[in-house]
Amino acid sequence: MLNRLINSVQNVDEALCHRSFMQAISVAMQQSVPILAIDIYCRLFFKLAISPDALLANIFYDYPIIPDSVSDQLMFIIQNLDVAVTMIFVIGLTYHYLTQKGIENTTLPIITNFIAIYMLLFAKNQSPTNTAIHYLLITLFTLLSCYTYYWYYRRLKIAVSPFSLKYLLWATTMISASLLLHVGLHLSSITTIISNLLSKNFFTTFSGLLLISILSPLLFIIGFSLPSELSSNQTSFNAMVSNLDKFLTHGLAPLPFPENLYSIYGAFTLFGGVGNTLTLNILLLFAVSKKYKRLGILSWIPSLFDNNYLLYAGLPMFLRPLMLVPMILVNITSMLISYVAIAGHIVQPAVFITPNNLPNMLLPTLASATPIRSTILAFLIFSISLLIYRPFLKRLTTEVTHEK
């Protein structure tokens, strides 16, 4: 039955990957990996050593205070690297999609899409605040721009110069559309709305937690920028704060919300990032293909600290059913096991706050009042995640096994 499921998923994945737009996306994403790696390692260095709430500053009392000017400079560099990652993806996607369609001179559409995406996402210093790049939005806009350019190109029958007034009119229209979208689309408001929704008590129930277990990998794979509460930090939720208050004042008395996003989703489904992708990274380290092994080594350290964007771009995971299905399975399984363990009082839920930027893998051990049992549970969930990802990853990597 599992084989049949994997076969079906692989068929859908292959059908999708043979579409020209998906091939262009895949090549563009993989092209952006080197600059993304620089971006992610800089961000990791910032999180661990430079930022005011850096991990090292949190755990070592005599850690030197880094001057604001240094952290501001590094943050400025990181923001520019974020822009560079996005722009290289946009350029690659435009170029590969249009050349597949037989267009040789892609200079104008590349410049147009570059300006349009820059205006859409980065104008007025509104750069995204984390590495959650809005891949869905960028891809949809770039592909729409490429489709319209191709349609226009075919109507004008090549005869016209690539920089003629008619093409410039198209470029102006696309840039204007991005400006209109920039004014009308409030990405930060969307994430704020989601954050507010997540603080509702519904997400301390079985149905709420199951919904999030399914939705978070789905949104992640389709390139929707997740709010920080779903990717790293759940300590601001009322349920978590109420639990901590109760524990600090009444000890081991029953907690008001033992099953919540922090104790279930945060503690057991974010090892290495959304969908326990640290296990996927381990499998890549032992992959037969050199290409995937290299990716596994490159993304290992960021994965340990819960950043899986190198895997996201390198495999790539974006819009891939072959990655979406195991990720949802891993999340549901992890959620069910941890829910049963907490509801059945086998382990105490995570209640304590841990230092900022500490690997999520350590959360069950450090934040629970039953650290040994929680560690065993984390190890069990980790092993099951490995087993779930293994057959899917094997199918994904078969296409390049001849490299060995």
Partner: protein, 279 residues
Amino acid sequence: MKNRIVLTLILILSLILMVFLGIYGQHWVSETSTHQSKIKNSHMTPVIFVPGSEATVNRFDHLLSEINANGPTHSILKVKVNQNGELIYTGKINANDRQPFIVIGFQNNEDGYNNIKKQTQWLTSALYALQDRYHFQTFSAIGHSNGGLIWTNFLEKYFDSDDFSIPTLMTLGTPFNFSETSLQRRTEMLKDFIQENSKIPSHLTVYSIAGTEDYTDDGIVPIQSVIAGKYIYQKKVKSYTQITVTGDNAQHSNLPDNPEVMKLIQANIIAPLSRRDRH
């Protein structure tokens, strides 16, 4: 073979790193939760006084001794914050005193908006140092003259509801619009306070006490400048009450010694905190 050695080395080093982070993380979690536990379980709810410009930590001596003479005795601790951030403690808090009085003053006690900003930073560091030492979370605040401005700046810029809870703030003759006699001419400081007033905690109860020697001022601060506080607090906090004290001892510098002011402090600050403590 070489590859396998590299991979094994990576995994072993990662494991060592995780164990190392785990040990230090455990130490951090244990210290933090012990500290949080002490704060959560603390029954101490002090009243913290901040004097105005040119005044020292002794500014409230008369007021505090009068309050102690007319009711249960509260221990008194004075904290002077030096320009280099050093804290100098005078007096002590009795172990069984649940409602001590703490006065926080500054070595640099000069007037001016820039200085108020600096004094707010010193106040913040003193509050956290006091919390580390006495493990309290809830306190009420009283500020005389510029002391009220320092509290306002603290509430807008540095207050964190995870660390502190302030049910009541009382300001005595606080010049929210400095020496301006007209509410139409707003100083830079008043404009800043109004602009940032959404950050003031909404559950706060505020009393703004004004003194009047005549119909216009308390000898130093124009009544209109004290009233300007309504633009900062009104409709932003749970309740905002403006009270005017007249007669003898209503002069600006004498306000803390005014018997009416003492009654207001007893009724609106000390009594509610005692009730809260009993619950």
